[in-house]
């Protein structure tokens, strides 16, 4: 098989992995070597589905002994199968890197023979890159669940980021769809990696040249929409992963049906992209905005509002906390205002040291007034002509399209009312909105 077919098969098999970030570590090439890494990460291209292409994302092999029902590479799927030799892969990576096509390598794999053997093959490719090519670019390696901890330690010493995929957000789903994997096989390595990273960074405080272990941390991925797990469960799991294992990122991947199976959504089912988007929005709120999962969702409201982003939704349900005055409010209070993000808050804090801010100034600082104006005051004043009723705010916060959809379902002004002798029991508009915003 020639290089083209191999690349095509092993890329096609890897594309459902979401992570393609190259952030979290900064370094320059050592003498005689090639490659560097930027802490912010660099995207080298964007595929036609709008996802960033930063790393050469391939599998070592798409041969797999497991039979996970959601996976395109499962044993029972009839596919052309192939394997990269470690040297082929290293050479390809080097040549792509040299032409500035990529920021580094993302290496995952099906399970060839057994997890340990697969890890050894991956390890050899990484070793050739790091030692023979003296490659200092970014490497993201996937850990095969069930691999020996010695092997994990050696991969962590060569890679910048390592990850173990959770894939299915509950033990039940796992038992049903991935009978060869167990919760322990996934969380075990995660805990091991976490303690190793902690140890290594503690050592490096004492000895500057102590060995690095996965300097860009670890991440994981979950499939959304393949199982009946709710947003609330997923978000809670996410939060506990950030807290317990100090993950750098949790990725969500809307399930693309790849097989006909009674346990899974039917082929041709649209991926739940909006749900995935809402989860990412909530993920950002957890990591950068000081929100907790409990504030965004609870047992009564287990899924996100499709019409409003989680932050607006939260703010509309907590109108008693608003408006806040931009010239006085603290960093954390400002962060909670819809339409104001981390960058805008930092700019506001800087700019208000020299002059009092008005609405025009806020626009210059990059605040999205379309959303923020309902929740802030400048020097005690609200924006001109602002009427802050739930209805007006809700209308303004919905995009035109969402508003049209919303109106279609719940028309705001029903056709001119006919006089009637009997009062019809009206399902009040307000009730509908309360349902939508989750405040009952």
């Amino acid at each position: 098989m020639d290089a083209f077919h191999k690349l095509q098969i092993l890329t096609g098999a890897a594309k459902y992995d979401v992570a393609c970030t190259s952030s979290g570590v900064a370094r320059k090439a050592a003498a005689g070597g090639i490659g560097s890494a930027e802490a912010c990460g660099i995207c080298h291209s964007f595929a036609a589905d709008g996802r960033c292409v930063s790393l050469l994302k391939v599998l070592m092999t798409n041969i797999c002994v497991y039979d996970c029902q959601y996976c395109v590479n499962r044993r029972s799927n009839d596919l052309p199968r192939t394997t990269f030799t470690p040297r082929e892969l290293a050479e390809l990576t080097f040549n792509f890197y040299r032409r500035n096509y990529i920021e580094g390598l993302f290496l995952s794999s099906g399970v060839l023979k057994n997890p340990d053997y697969t890890c050894e093959q991956m390890l050899e490719a990484l070793r050739i890159l790091r030692e023979e090519y003296r490659f200092a670019g970014y490497i993201h390696a996937k850990i095969i669940p069930g691999a020996d901890s010695q092997l994990i330690a050696r991969i962590g010493a060569l890679a910048d980021r390592i990850s173990v995929n959770i894939e299915l957000p509950s033990q039940n789903s796992l038992r049903l769809l991935a009978p060869d994997k167990s919760k322990h096989a996934i969380l075990g390595p995660m805990g091991y990696i976490h303690s190793h990273i902690k140890e290594s960074s503690a050592d490096r405080k004492r000895y500057r040249h102590g060995p690095k272990f996965a300097p860009a941390g670890q991440s994981t991925q979950m499939i959304i929409g393949a199982t009946p797990d709710t947003d609330f469960q997923i978000l809670n799991l996410t939060e506990s992963l950030y807290k317990k294992y100090k993950l750098k990122r949790v990725f969500f991947s809307a399930y693309m049906p790849v097989a006909e199976n009674t346990l899974l959504p039917a082929m041709g089912t649209k991926p739940q992209l909006l749900r995935e988007h809402r989860l990412y929005q909530a993920d950002w709120l957890l990591r950068f905005y000081g929100f907790t999962a409990r504030e965004l969702l609870d047992e009564q409201h287990q899924s996100f509002n499709p019409y409003l982003d989680p932050k607006c939704h939260w703010a509309l349900n907590h109108m008693e906390l608003f408006p806040v005055d931009v010239n006085r409010a603290s960093y954390n209070d400002l962060l909670r205002v819809p339409g104001i993000g981390v960058t805008s808050v930092k700019r506001i804090i800087t700019a208000r040291r020299t002059a009092a801010l008005n609405f025009d100034a806020l626009r210059k600082l990059g605040v999205v007034l379309k959303r923020a104006q309902y929740f802030i005051t400048c020097g005690g004043k609200t924006a001109d002509g602002m009427i802050i009723t739930r209805d007006a705010v809700l209308r303004a916060l919905l995009s035109e399209r969402a508003w049209a959809m919303y109106n279609e379902k719940f028309p705001l002004h029903p056709e001119a009312e006919q006089l009637s002798l009997f009062d019809e029991p009206s399902s009040c508009q307000e009730d509908v909105q309360k349902c939508l915003t989750g405040q009952i």
């Binding site: 890329t11 090439a29 036609a48 052309p80 500035n100 920021e103 800087t350």
Partner: protein
């Protein structure tokens, strides 16, 4: 008081030249209505004053900036000079006048119009240079890496450190077509030189095959069920596509898809 408000300054287009304009503006207590570089001819009725570049004057201004308004402001002014902002010279002069007046806090006056315009321009410059760190494509000719870009801003000085650190053992050339400049590097020296035009030879077999492999990877990595060309366009505007290997296909393709 600023007298003679209708003056136009003509400078040589260099950063030192601009610093001399600042010097002149303070020396003569006047505020020009326009500062022009020689390559932008403009018929005008206003009196034109040609500002000669004097390294001593320029240095006096240069030294004063970190003293009066901080190192951050100096970096900022240097970067503002690289942007494609129309009338950037005048905006820089206004900013520096503010800086001499208010001191280091000028960098915090983000809501001020003068500062805001320059901040926006510098942000554009930095964004573009960050994008080009990824979107630049090298081709290998005779073991030399050659890449071409068409940025709006003058980004080469900002790309210099990144690429020199990344490829310390390579020889490479990055040609900026818009500004007729190139960043040339061979171990371990780099220079930004003026280059009129660059004609590249036909790529050899090996180069073509790597380009083809990259195109194949790029096409395969897309998840077809999530096709979203608008999202791609907003992350990677079309003006960059011209120089991207993966979006420019030669006539006949070497490979047919197998599934």
């Amino acid at each position: 008081m600023l007298n003679r408000p209708n003056m136009i300054y003509l400078y040589d287009g260099s950063f030192n030249g601009l610093l001399c304009c600042v010097f002149e503006s303070y020396d003569q207590k006047e505020m020009p209505v326009e500062i022009l570089a020689p390559d932008i001819p403009q018929a005008t009725l206003f009196p034109v004053k040609e500002i000669m570049t004097d390294p001593q004057k320029a240095n006096r201004v240069l030294v004063s900036i970190p003293k009066k308004m901080g190192h951050e402001a100096l970096d900022f002014v240097r970067q503002a000079f690289l942007t494609c902002l129309p009338q950037k010279e005048l905006h820089i002069l206004r900013f520096m006048r503010m800086g001499y007046c208010h001191g280091p806090s000028v960098m915090a006056m983000l809501a001020n119009d003068t500062v805001h315009i320059l901040f926006k321009a510098v942000k554009h410059l930095k964004n573009e240079s960050h994008l080009l760190k990824g979107f630049l494509r090298f081709s290998v000719f005779n073991n030399v890496l050659v890449g071409e870009i068409e940025p709006k801003n003058c980004v080469l000085p900002l790309l210099r450190q990144h690429f020199c650190r990344r490829y310390p053992e390579e020889r490479f050339l990055i040609f900026d077509k818009t500004h007729g400049m190139a960043l040339a590097y061979h171990p371990y020296q780099s220079a930004i030189i003026a280059v009129e035009d660059l004609v590249l030879p036909e790529p050899d077999q090996k180069e073509q095959s790597f380009r083809e492999l990259w195109r194949l990877f790029y096409e395969t990595i897309e998840v077809k069920g999530r096709h979203n060309p608008r999202c791609r366009m907003s992350h990677m505007p079309k003006r960059y596509w011209k120089h991207l290997t993966e979006l420019n296909r030669p006539q006949e393709s070497l490979i047919t898809p197998i599934y």
